[in-house]
Subunit: 334 residues, 2 copies
Amino acid sequence: MATQTAQFAPPGNWQELCDPIQPFLDEVSGCLQEEVRSFDPQIANFIQYALGSQGKQLRPALVALGARATGGLNPKHVHAAVIIEMVHLATLVHDDVVDGAEVRRSRPTLAAHWGNKVSVLAGDCLFAEALKLAAKLPSNEVCRLVSQSAKVVCTGEIRQTLHRGNFELSRTEYLELVQMKTAELFALACELGARFAVPENPEIHQALRDYGLKLGTAYQIYDDCLDVFGEENHAGKSLGTDLITGKATLPVIIALERADEIERKAWLAMLKDGEAQAGTIRERLLGQHIPASCCEVVEDYIQQANACVVELPAVESLRGLSDCLLRQLGALTD
Amino acid sequence: MATQTAQFAPPGNWQELCDPIQPFLDEVSGCLQEEVRSFDPQIANFIQYALGSQGKQLRPALVALGARATGGLNPKHVHAAVIIEMVHLATLVHDDVVDGAEVRRSRPTLAAHWGNKVSVLAGDCLFAEALKLAAKLPSNEVCRLVSQSAKVVCTGEIRQTLHRGNFELSRTEYLELVQMKTAELFALACELGARFAVPENPEIHQALRDYGLKLGTAYQIYDDCLDVFGEENHAGKSLGTDLITGKATLPVIIALERADEIERKAWLAMLKDGEAQAGTIRERLLGQHIPASCCEVVEDYIQQANACVVELPAVESLRGLSDCLLRQLGALTD
């Protein structure tokens, strides 16, 4: 069983992959820090705190790698990455309110620190500022794409909230939620990477968008598995929360798919009592080799992602990212 | 004392003022209803409910009156009004979460009906959709102005939240909060009315913006006074909530300004126990003729508003609005 768990926390080469784009990521970080000064001094500490929860800068990295795979980086990519990361951080602030989460990236959430009221409004401010930055670009394109993606992400979050406690969620509905709430911003990041690199090539924009959707789906499924099977001290956040808060994710969905009627009833009874039964549920999932089945699904999405960009001339950076995520996702609890 | 209270619920001629722009307001309402269909079917009922809480359509009316005062209505004004009303409704949804409000416009708030989680995310979806609509316009102008205003509004709301329980709030700080959280969207509505009517005349855009800021400040001060002095059955929402939730507004600020050191301590002791003392506080404020003093402040802002547009050729509609608000604000619990 230890071996199965280990599949979800392998060593990786994320840093190696980021080395060539590190100056870009540093510039994005610097711009986000600069952004704090654009807010009212009375609220700057909340914004600073929220912007300080950047993790591995996965979405900015996707902008950069998408750009390198298509036509090369230029200053517009920094602008796009700052916007997407700010939207992402805004959604995290609201997610933590909605989920009642107390820890993210090994420190108290904004909501745990300053309460839900400030967090709801600070998230709004971040989102408004992201759109304000988007409106500084000469065309309406980024405003349109960012607001569309934000709508999809939040819609996915509402649908997930409505399914809280529904462990009979179908795999199809689960995958749709994953695509909306996580993969959509991955797709946006990859697409903007391409749009600003090769503005006149809509096929490549679409290919990068599709790549991001598949990769983001793989990533979120993996993250969900980590919540069930991972080790808390590696994750930098509370684990097991999905079982406790009644969120059905792939491990449970697969177990229920395989169960006969009697087993199904037993599973549902256990899952209804997720808080008390989390340990037992985890053991049973491990005993049924569910982690391996989940990994197959993740790998399949990564292969689909790679297939989207196979015809691009400079595809190595994206392949490197896919492969890295495949080995590394356990460390990316973004 | 009854006479003083009556100052805050006079009969008015809002409907008369709206008659010439009623087709415009109906079109805006129709577009907002149509907008429901642009959302995911699983969340449409929340959006429908939130969009159904349009009150007197004050902000759309400001767009129309601003347009008529400057160069006349055109289809872009409907688009602008829908965007602003949607941003406004999004902020109401989040305000009700932040304030724990249970009733708005004589019906349960979205938060009271479906909980804070759905409300936070539904507000986000509305805001994202508003920006998406803004991005459909040919230039970036509306995206830029709307996101800037949204940032100001939410910043004002955070600052107000931080001052919860602080009854020693200065009049200057109070007026700044009022301007940020309410007058900003009034200013935006008036400004977009002018921008789409006379695109090439920045002086007029600025004059209309200034008019909206002053009028919006008057309106919010009046609404705050209504919360203290109004009659619940006319207001369509819970009253006295500011005293109960520790929000210092003009009546209390004036009372404290006038108090000597001993009276001040007595006031602060009463205000700290706002929930139990609300009735007594109200009686004392009435006894000190505070409503009349508040009305003077409101009237002064309305005069300042009128002064901003005095040189416009077709200023009657705006003057009508100012005068109407002056007589009518009690009925406008928007």
